[in-house]
């Protein structure tokens, strides 16, 4: 169903994020080499890098496009504790001929004291708004009051999430029935701190963001989070990349007209997949939110699709290097099943320790594995072994 082809990226270090613009004709990548590259798709479908420039003084974690209504605008965030807004300007004519475009920095947002881990533009209908989240657990919402002047951004809201934030996602629904909503994921790995996904909703009366929901069942580190394109649906769908892929459905409960609090949701878990057999790194929805792609530490990209019964299934596996996957399994754990039944059982016993190694294996530490080496050290090899003579 899907065929992969490689594109020469020419980044000098790991690429941390890829982002398409609204039309899917332009693309931005960011990397540990501190640069952002912009790519344009030619009529023949080839990608050409039309701009590459140093953006930050640290690894650039994420890059994202604003809606084209606001011009050709990018935002990036970095380990250097800043986020920046970039705008493409009409360059000198020789630039044009070289096929290069010119991007200039419109603003640097320096409010964070730690690494800025994610940056996202709010949905278009809210105006030109930008959100960042940082490792110190603060989500910041900025607004450009004048969309023609991208150098002025005012910090509108600061939401303190108490936990180190790794990712944010806006609810893209433009329906008036759905107030602005933002989901925040935390990569804090301590399961004792409870839910790692918090959902904040804008309250028109208090003009503040208030917590509407915490997904208490997600206790492991969350690496990525994505609201699905709503497309006029009556509910919201949230994909979460944690130790597995999870899809949650948030059904807004009918609100009494008098109540002013945040919307109450009925939270349903629609799907949970541990096929990656390891940490899941990213999740992404297609435009109709009918296909979900996830990537994991198994080096594979998996595609998920729901059937008419809303049952999600894996419809494709692609290897990170674009090569086809042999067979259907493609999981590093799968070959262990071939080793033998004895091994299999021992693996199964070891399974509960996957999530909480500090608990389950303490009993095993009691085995004096160190003691064995001690005894060997104390007793030198017997002076005369009964030899084969």
């Amino acid at each position: 169903m899907f065929v992969a082809r490689s594109i020469a990226a020419d980044h000098k270090d790991l690429i941390h994020d890829v982002s398409y613009d609204f039309h899917g004709r332009r693309m931005a990548t960011c990397s540990s080499d501190q640069s952002v590259k912009v790519w344009d798709k030619s009529e023949s479908g080839e990608w050409h890098c039309t701009a590459s420039w140093k953006t930050h003084s640290g690894s650039v974690w994420r890059v994202t496009w604003a809606h084209p209504e606001f011009g050709q605008v990018l935002a990036s965030c970095s380990f250097d504790r800043t986020a920046a807004v970039w705008e493409e300007i009409v360059g000198e004519s020789n630039d044009k001929q070289r096929g290069q475009s010119h991007w200039i920095k419109r603003t640097t947002l320096v409010d964070s004291r730690t690494s800025v881990t994610d940056v996202k533009f709010a949905p278009k209908h809210m105006g030109l708004m930008l959100t960042t989240c940082s490792a110190d657990g603060v989500v910041r919402v900025y607004e450009a009051p004048d969309v023609m002047n991208l150098s002025q951004w005012s910090l509108q809201h600061e939401i303190s999430c108490k936990l180190s934030c790794s990712c944010i996602s806006w609810n893209p629904s433009s329906s008036r029935a759905h107030p602005p909503m933002i989901a925040v994921g935390s990569d804090d790995s301590n399961v004792m701190y409870g839910g790692k996904v918090q959902i904040y909703e804008y309250n028109d009366n208090t003009r503040k963001y208030a917590k509407a929901e915490t997904l208490m069942t997600v206790t492991d580190a969350v690496h990525d989070i994505a609201f699905s394109p709503n497309l006029g649906r009556s509910f919201h769908v949230l994909a979460i990349a944690t130790k597995d892929v999870r899809i949650f459905k948030l059904v807004p409960l009918r609100k009494e007209s008098s109540s002013t609090g945040p919307t109450k949701f009925e939270v349903q878990i629609v799907a949970q997949f541990d096929n990656h057999n390891s940490q899941v790194w990213r999740v992404s929805w297609n435009i109709t939110s009918t296909l979900l792609a996830s990537s994991g530490d198994d080096g594979c990209v998996r595609l998920w699709k729901a059937n008419y019964m809303d049952n999600w299934k894996c419809t494709g596996i692609l290897k990170g290097d674009g090569s086809p996957v042999n067979g259907s399994s493609g999981q590093p754990g799968a070959m262990n099943t071939m080793v033998g039944s004895a091994v299999q059982t021992s693996q199964n016993e070891a399974l509960p320790s996957v999530g909480r190694p500090e608990l389950a294996t303490d009993c095993l530490t009691a085995l004096p594995s160190l003691g064995l080496t001690d005894t060997a050290a104390l007793t030198p090899p017997p002076p005369s072994l009964p030899g084969p003579d």
Binding site: F2, G320, A350
Partner: protein
């Protein structure tokens, strides 16, 4: 030693060989699965690779540590440190090298027996082998042996050795005099040679890290620390060293050795191994005891200028090569990020590659881009391929938008063909919506009917659904008809009323007219080869003979199912005898029939009048047929109840066939909502609901939301023309959605719109025609404002007043201005249009301006340096497409 603590060593020179040492040494070769080389006994390491055991060496008991000779020759020479402190040279595999033979079995014996903790070959002077030992009173704990040194003269020790070493009788192989003795009165736990200088040895001693310089053994540099285990030098940074203690890893910079530059977050369990990745900069893998994960630290050497302290970026992640507890691991020396992992028990090995974290994104046109490491990959939904896989709705909607799906307002039913014609629900939907255009005869009949009842009502044209129609049913008559072809009176009551006839018509069973005649419908079904359905409809009309005839026809048709004859035979045996064998068998065997229509036929024949649940609740029978059936056989009490039930069922699952029942009412919007929830098909929802009543249905916020989302989709796909077409279509059906004119050209002098005088005309769009925009050049020209009669501005290029038609070649016919004709024709209509730059306010005839900017970037007005065209993104598109066509 204990067999429970295995270790792995990769061959320094053979990328496909490694040694596992637990109680014995095992040499393995790794190869692709199923290749000719790999034997049947190969152990699978991963999906693609397997290992073959090449050699086993169990000559050296009580192994504590092993080190592989770093030079090419002799290959497979290993130094084994034993629990009694001796170091034995051994080999794996048959090596015929004479030098190797000479070294094999050579033993290096310390003065006092104690455990040998670590071994390290000098990478440059490969004769030197450093051994780290436990403490023994005031003895030295770091011994450096020269493997080329001859046997020791002390024969007494050698003689004792003979008895100890198993299998070796050559006394010349025992060496007792080390080259250097270091670390007096101390214990050594780990060792490594520093690549900075071949004479420098870094040792993890009892409570400190020490650097011994062999050129001056009396001196050592040291730092007190607990982190003394597993010292290892970063192969990419010769000054960067990692060591550990319990659960904590310390990273040292040898240039400022006073304290660790970095300590990694403590892990809950004691570490057992720490190793730098030889193929990637700054990647450190760590393993703790009793764990099935390997924790990786990606140290990015990017000193941040802000702030005082410079801390490297550390990306921490853990990988899980397999489910079993890991005994040890070893990086592959050359393969990128690859390692072999051995389990703590049973020596289960796994070939494992640490993948870079992949980030990914979908484009609006359903292609997926992902970044893996430094590489980008794009992947588009392939055309063809596995035909069985249903296309995603996004792709479907794109294709449908291009095939003008939804735009056929004359023959509404054709829209399902535009949609691809393979979706039964869409087919049912668009056939249901047929009644709306008045061209269709059905509709005429229907609107007449409705108008008779709701005279002058606004809702006259809105389809309100069968559910509402039958609700208002009155004057139902009941009659009992006999089976045609048999004389016997049956007790099957059938119900008639005007509304029920209407419903039957809407279901497509009958045409207009007072009498119920299903014959045309049966014929059309026969024409489409739907034999079973036709037979069932005939049967429901109590024409058993016709049903049998249809089945026979079906059996004899091309590619017909011969089983239909059998069914016909079974039908012909129908008897209304309550306790007949036929009835009994039919009721039990009918459930085995695969075709739902055949199934309901027998259900109908065997059920009591009024209790047709077997027919009514057979969900694979089309809703139209079930509804029509209900309208015939359910009484006035049962019918609304059934309709209600069926409607809510349809609403629940979002089945578009249910629109037949709900119509385009609030109920219909509810149904469509669950359809959209299920499929995301806002396209169908938008087109369908636009046909509803503008006041009630179209104004529903949900409907507005679907329309907005669909327009947004079209925009994202850059189908601007389709979106414009949709807007036109929408404004026809819902005039209130028509946007007001957004742009006016106003006169410079009086400020009035120059199309002002034409505003009385019904179509605003025609306002510009008199300015030569769409008319022929001979048409009347207006070069002045209709309000104040002052002249319109001049075109910057031809210097004529606007409103003058464009001369064909303003540039006196330059040959290179010839553009392909189709393009020219497309633009011709716009050549006379007003156009101006929003930045510098200069402008003129669109045709002139366009041709000017083909060759120029700056504004045609002298002394104006505005790059008008480049300011516009669509202007850039014109250039892009042009440069590619050249």
């Amino acid at each position: 030693m204990s067999g429970s603590k295995p270790d792995i060593l990769w061959s320094p020179h053979h990328a496909d060989r490694y040694v596992i040492c637990d109680s014995e040494l095992g040499l393995y070769r790794i190869g692709p699965v199923g290749s000719g080389e790999t034997k049947a006994g190969a152990l699978p390491l991963s999906v693609e690779t397997a290992a073959t055991l090449l050699a086993i060496n169990s000559d050296t008991p009580y192994m504590k540590c092993v080190a592989w000779y770093p030079k090419h020759e002799p290959e497979c020479l290993l130094a084994v440190g034993q629990a009694n402190g001796r170091v034995v040279l051994t080999s794996l595999g048959q090596s015929h090298n004479s030098k190797c033979k000479e070294l094999m079995g050579k033993e290096f014996v310390p003065k006092h027996a104690r455990q040998c903790n670590t071994l390290a070959w000098n990478p440059v002077d490969s004769n030197w082998l450093a051994a780290g030992l436990d403490k023994h009173r005031a003895d030295f704990s770091v011994l450096i042996w020269d493997i080329s040194s001859k046997f020791s003269p002390e024969a007494s020790v050698a003689a004792e050795k003979i008895r100890l070493s198993s299998g070796d009788t050559d006394s010349g192989l025992v060496v007792t005099k080390p080259l250097y003795e270091l670390g007096q009165n101390d214990a050594c736990l780990s060792l490594c040679w520093l690549p900075r200088d071949q004479k420098l040895l870094l040792a993890g001693m009892h409570r400190n890290l020490a650097i011994f310089d062999l050129r001056n053994t009396s001196q050592k540099t040291f730092v007190n620390t607990k982190a003394i285990q597993g010292v290892t030098v970063d192969p990419h940074f010769p000054d960067r060293v990692a060591s550990f203690f319990e659960g904590q890893v310390a990273i040292w910079d040898l240039r400022k050795f006073e304290k660790p530059v970095l300590t990694l977050t403590e892990q809950p369990k004691p570490l057992t191994k720490v190793a730098w990745c030889p193929t990637r900069m700054g990647l450190l893998a760590t393993l703790t005891r009793d764990s099935n994960i390997i924790r990786l630290y990606d140290m990015q050497h990017t000193p941040t200028p802000i702030g005082d302290e410079t801390e490297p970026t550390i990306i921490e992640r853990s990988v899980q090569p397999s489910n079993s507890l890991i005994g040890s691991f070893a990086w592959h020396p050359t393969s990128q990020n690859r390692m072999v992992v051995v389990s703590a028990a049973n020596r289960v090995m796994t070939d494992f590659t640490v993948f870079e974290r992949i980030s990914l994104a979908w484009s609006s046109t359903t292609s997926l881009m992902w970044a893996c490491g430094r590489h980008l990959y794009e992947c588009a939904e392939g055309v063809g391929g596995e035909g069985t896989v249903e296309k995603d709705i996004a792709t479907k909607m794109r294709q449908r938008a291009q095939s003008r799906y939804g735009h056929d307002t004359v023959q509404v039913w054709k829209n399902h063909l535009l949609a691809g014609g393979d979706d039964p629900q869409l087919k049912s939907l668009w056939y249901t919506l047929v009644p709306f255009p008045m061209q269709v005869s059905l509709m005429k009949q229907y609107t007449e009917d409705v108008e008779q009842k709701q005279q002058g009502s606004k809702q006259a044209l809105v389809y309100s659904g069968i559910k509402n129609i039958v609700k208002s049913s009155s004057g139902t008559t009941e009659n009992r008809r006999c089976w045609s072809g048999s004389d016997r009176q049956t007790d099957v009551p059938r119900f008639h009323s005007e509304e029920r006839s209407l419903a039957l018509r809407l279901c497509g069973w009958i045409n207009r007219g007072p009498d119920i005649n299903v014959e045309p419908f049966l014929r059309s079904l026969e024409g489409e080869g739907e034999w079973e359905r036709a037979a069932a409809v005939a049967l429901f009309n109590l024409d058993i003979r016709r049903a049998i005839q249809i089945l026979n026809k079906g059996a004899s048709a091309e590619r017909g199912d011969l089983n239909l004859n059998v069914v016909a035979m079974a039908l012909s045996g129908y008897t209304d005898e309550k306790s007949s064998l036929w009835r009994e068998m039919c009721s039990s065997l009918r459930l085995q029939l695969k075709n739902p229509y055949l199934c309901v036929m027998f259900a109908f024949l065997t059920s009591e009048p009024g209790t047709y649940d077997g027919v009514l609740y057979e969900s694979s029978v089309a809703v139209t047929d079930r509804v029509a059936f209900a309208c015939m056989f359910l009484n006035d009490a049962q019918l609304p109840r059934y309709m209600e039930k069926l409607t809510s069922e349809m609403k629940e699952v979002g089945n578009l066939e249910g629109i037949l029942l709900t119509g385009l009412t609030k109920d219909g919007v509810d149904l469509m909502e669950s359809y959209v929830d299920r499929t995301g098909d806002v396209q169908t929802a938008s087109f369908c609901m636009l046909k509803g009543s503008p006041g009630e249905v179209v104004k529903d916020p949900r409907v507005q939301c679907w329309i907005e989302n669909y327009r947004n989709l079209l925009d994202a796909w850059r189908f601007w023309h389709k979106r414009a077409e949709f807007d036109i279509h929408r404004s026809k059906l819902d005039p209130s959605s028509k946007p007001l004119a957004q742009v006016f050209v106003s006169c410079n002098f009086c400020g009035k719109s120059i199309s002002y005088s034409c505003s009385a005309m019904p179509h605003q769009g025609r306002g510009f025609s008199q300015y030569g925009v769409s008319g022929s050049p001979t048409k009347s020209k207006v070069t002045s404002c209709p309000g104040c009669r002052k002249p319109l501005p001049r075109c910057a290029l031809c210097l004529m007043n606007m409103g003058t038609p464009v001369s064909n070649c303003p540039g006196t016919g330059k040959s290179d201005e010839k553009v392909d004709l189709t393009r020219e024709n497309k633009l011709a209509q716009f050549n006379n249009w007003f156009t101006w730059c929003h930045n510098c306010r200069h402008g003129g005839h669109a045709g002139h301006i366009l041709s000017w900017f083909r060759d120029h970037t700056e504004c045609p007005v002298s002394a104006c340096t505005c790059k008008c065209m480049q300011l516009d993104t669509t202007g850039n598109l014109v250039f892009l497409s042009r440069s590619q066509s050249d």
